[in-house]
C-alpha cells in the first residue's frame, strides 16, 4: 500500500508535484500516467525518500520510506535514470545492494536468472544495452522479494519480447497480492497492463480511476461495423443510449453497445457482417483529452495544422 497525501515538490518557483494525493492498492497493477515532465519521476523519488517533499507526506505500508528497517524487502524500485555504476559487473552491483540487508548470494543468482541476465552477470554494466540495463534494474527491485514495487517506465528501451516479459511479470506480481505501481507516458501500454490508473499532468492529479471507468468517461465503447446492409442495421440498432454514425457507405460506428450485442442483433436479423471491430482508441483519446492542458512541451494545434 502506497499513500501520498498533499505531496508537493517545488524547485524554486517551479512546482514539479502539486498537492498530489492518491492511494495505491495491493493486488492490482496501478498505472501512473502522464506526459513527459508531468512529475511522475519526481513523485517516485519522493516516495522513495530520495528527494525531500516541500509539503505533504508519502507513506509506504503506513510509514515514510526513510523509516523502513529493511527497505529492499518492503519496496523494490526501478528508477528511470539507470541507477547502476557503469564500471561494476551486474553481479557485483546486486551483491553490493544485497549486502546492505544481509541478503545472500543465492538470492542474487536467483534474480539474475529471473531477469535473464545470468550469462552476462560478470560483464560490466556500462556495456549493457538499454534493455539489459532495465532488466538489471528490475533484478535489483526484486532482490529483497518486496511486497511493493515502484517502477519508473520499466518498458523503456525494451524489445517486444522484453515488453511482453514485463507485462506478464507485473501481472503475476500483482496476482501474488503485491502492490505494483508503474509509471508510463504511454496510454496504450498502461491499457494492456494496469487495472487502475492515476493520471497526472503538470504535477497535479487529473484522474484516479479504474481503466474501465476512464474508458466509460471517455464516451464508452465504440464498435466499428461494416455490412452491405448498413441502413437496415442502423435502424435495428438505434435505441436509447445507443448512437450510430456513418462516415462512408457500408460503415457504421456504434457506441453504447458491445461488439457481442451488435453481432447478436445482426444475426437475429440475418444480416451478414463484413467487419466487427471493438475500437480501443477511446482510452487513448481519453488520455489525450485529460492531459491536453497539461502537456508541458506540447505542440500547439495551430502549428500542426499550418
Amino acid at each position: 500500500m502506497i499513500e501520498a497525501a498533499g505531496l508537493t515538490k517545488r524547485y524554486g518557483d517551479k512546482v514539479a508535484v502539486d498537492d498530489l494525493s492518491f492511494l495505491v492498492q495491493p493486488g492490482i497493477v496501478t498505472g501512473f500516467l502522464g506526459p513527459n515532465g508531468a512529475g511522475k519521476s519526481t513523485t517516485m523519488r519522493l516516495l522513495l525518500g530520495l528527494d525531500r517533499a516541500s509539503a505533504g507526506t508519502a507513506h509506504i505500508n503506513g510509514r515514510p520510506y526513510r523509516q523502513l528497517k529493511a527497505p529492499l524487502s518492503e519496496v523494490g524500485a526501478l528508477l528511470e535514470a539507470r541507477a547502476v555504476h557503469t564500471g561494476r559487473s551486474a553481479r557485483s552491483h546486486l551483491l553490493a545492494l544485497a549486502a546492505t540487508h544481509g541478503i545472500g548470494r543465492r538470492r542474487v543468482d536467483a534474480v539474475l536468472e529471473l531477469v535473464g541476465l545470468s550469462h552476462v552477470a560478470g560483464k560490466r554494466a556500462g556495456g549493457f544495452s538499454l534493455g539489459m540495463g532495465q532488466r538489471l534494474g528490475i533484478a535489483s527491485a526484486l532482490l529483497g522479494d518486496p511486497h511493493t514495487l515502484i517502477l519508473d517506465e520499466p518498458v523503456n528501451g525494451l524489445d517486444p519480447e522484453g515488453i511482453l516479459w514485463i507485462r506478464n511479470l507485473l501481472r503475476s506480481l500483482a496476482a501474488e497480492g503485491r502492490t505494483v505501481f508503474v509509471s508510463s507516458h504511454l496510454m496504450s501500454e498502461m491499457a494492456l497492463t494496469a487495472t487502475h490508473l492515476i493520471v497526472v499532468g503538470q504535477g497535479r492529479l487529473i484522474a484516479d480511476a479504474s481503466v474501465a471507468e476512464l474508458t466509460a468517461a471517455a464516451g464508452g465503447r465504440t464498435v466499428r461495423v461494416r455490412t452491405e446492409e448498413a441502413r437496415r442495421l442502423h435502424d435495428l440498432l438505434a435505441a436509447d443510449g445507443v448512437s450510430v454514425s456513418s462516415t462512408e457507405r457500408d460503415l457504421l460506428m456504434v457506441s453504447g453497445l458491445s461488439s457481442a450485442e451488435v453481432g447478436r442483433v445482426a444475426a437475429q436479423a440475418g444480416i451478414a457482417l463484413i467487419e466487427l471491430t471493438p475500437q480501443q482508441v477511446s482510452l487513448e483519446d481519453a488520455f489525450m483529452e485529460l492531459t491536453r492542458d497539461a502537456v508541458e512541451f506540447g505542440t500547439p494545434l495551430q502549428e500542426l495544422a499550418s
Binding site: 523519488r45 522513495l48 525518500g49 530520495l50 528527494d51 525531500r52 520510506y65 526513510r66 523502513l68 528497517k69 529493511a70 527497505p71 529492499l72 524487502s73 519496496v75 524500485a77 528508477l79 535514470a81 539507470r82 541507477a83 547502476v84 555504476h85 557503469t86 564500471g87 561494476r88 559487473s89 557485483s92 552491483h93 551483491l95 553490493a96 545492494l97 549486502a99 546492505t100 540487508h101 544481509g102 541478503i103 545472500g104 538470492r107 536467483a110 536468472e113 529471473l114 535473464g116 535489483s140 526484486l142 529483497g144 522479494d145 516479459w165 506478464n168 511479470l169 503475476s172 506480481l173 501474488e176
Partner: protein, 290 residues
Amino acid sequence: MTTVTVETPAPVLQVTQARAAKSEWIKLRSLRSTWWSILIVLLISIGLGILFSDLRGRDMAQHGVLVTDPTQLSLRGFYLAQLAVGVLGVLLITGEYSTGMIRASLSAVPTRLPVWAGKIVVLAMFIFVITLAAAFVAFLGGQAVLSHYHATLVLSPKSGLLVGPLSGPTHALGVSLSHPGSLRAVFGAALYMTGVALLGLGCGFMLRNTGAAIATVFGLLLVLPLLAQALPNSMQQHVTKFLPLLAGTAGMITTGGTNQLSPWTGLGVFGLYVAAALGIGLVVLRRRDA
C-alpha cells in the same frame, strides 16, 4: 516465460552499520579503477622512494655531506602518490553520483548515515593497510640503497642531523627502523595517505562532482602553500605550518623541520581538516536530494 519465484530469503533482513560497510567494501573492490589506483600508488611510492634515495645518496656521498633526512628521502614518493589516493577517495562517492548508483545505494540505506560511515571505515582501512605496506617497502628499499653511500657527517639520535667534523671516519647514509622517528615516519606516511583519501571522500560528499572535488582537494593540499608564500615573512611562518600539506606531512619527517609542527600535532591538525570535510559532506548527504 519465467515466472516469479517467491523465495524466502534468510530471516532478519535489516540494514545494519556492519552490513552497510560490507556493501561499501564490495563496491570498492569491484571497480577496476580501485586496483589501478593502488597499482599506481605502489609503483610511485616505492619506485620514486628508491630512485630519490639513489640520486641524492650519490650526490651526498660525492660531497661527503649529509644534507637531508634519509627517512623522509625514502618516503618522498608519497608526495606524488597522494594524487592517486586523493582521486580514489573522491571517486568512491562522486562515481556514484555521476552514474546514478547513488539512488540505488540510498534506496537500500535510506537513513544515509551508514553509507557515509561505511565508506569512511572501508576506505580508511584499505588505504592505511596498503600504504603502510608500501611505506615499509619504500623505507627499507630506500635505506638499503642509501647504505651504499657514505659521508663523514653522522646522524644525531635526537635531531636526525648532526653537523660534525668534515674529517674523520665515514658512515653509511642509510638508517634503520630503530633510528629515532623512522618507524613513526613510516606510520606517519600511511596516516597522511589515509587522511588524503578521506579528505577526497569528504570533498566528494560535499561537492558530488568529480572535477570540482579533485580540484578542491588538491587546491587545499598543493595550492594553499604556494599562495601562503605571498604573505609577509612574519605571517608566513605562523600560517604555513598549519596548512593541510605541511601539517599532514609533519609525521613523515624525523628531523623536526624548523617550519613544521611536531609530528603528532601536525597529524592532529590535518585530522581536523579531514573531519571538517567529512562533516560538511555528511550534512550535504543528509539534507540534499539525491
